[in-house]
Symmetry: C2
Subunit: 119 residues, 2 copies
Amino acid sequence: MPKKHEALGTHILLEFHGCPPDVIRNSDRVEKLFLKAAEISKAHIVKTVFHHFNPHGVSGVVVISESHFAVHTWPEHKFVAIDLFSCSEDLKMEKAIDFLKKELAPKAVSTLRLDRGVL
Amino acid sequence: MPKKHEALGTHILLEFHGCPPDVIRNSDRVEKLFLKAAEISKAHIVKTVFHHFNPHGVSGVVVISESHFAVHTWPEHKFVAIDLFSCSEDLKMEKAIDFLKKELAPKAVSTLRLDRGVL
């Protein structure tokens, strides 16, 4: 797969629809889930920033040595936008995605995979 | 433009090729540029995380009330990947992009605009 090797990074954009509002409005819980997802992917965590909006929603980023995981939740719409950006082919992204699907329990998922930095 | 109003967020993915390596390997400088870009867009800055890799490259995220700006640089490839994610239509994204183009001086730019959270 030559394309894979020409790109500096892989960016997976996930959209989770129909998530339970109680889960995705809880900043601590969302932060723990994303830390765990980063761990499962074998990423090296550098720092996390999670922010709880009033009255709704969570925004958070886990900066990893291999790039970043980001999440934004809209509990009022049962919607979660996720970005998994990695410059390493070694990360177990599928395992992280399976974990997030299990925990955030979306009724529908859309996924877009993009190469970043095709030289 | 009904599509715009149906989406919860706008995600602009920029790829800057041919940037001066000295500029994009400097973590302090890249952080300052992204803070300034967030300011120019009229975003409300919540927190920033910037990380300098050894020996190359910078990864950083500016978490804003309206979502996030992220940047990853590869000085050895003169390449910068940028994500501007906003859930507000009020942000002056074009002004922020013009500023980043001016300061990071890419020789080629590719831009992808995606709606996030189309309900």
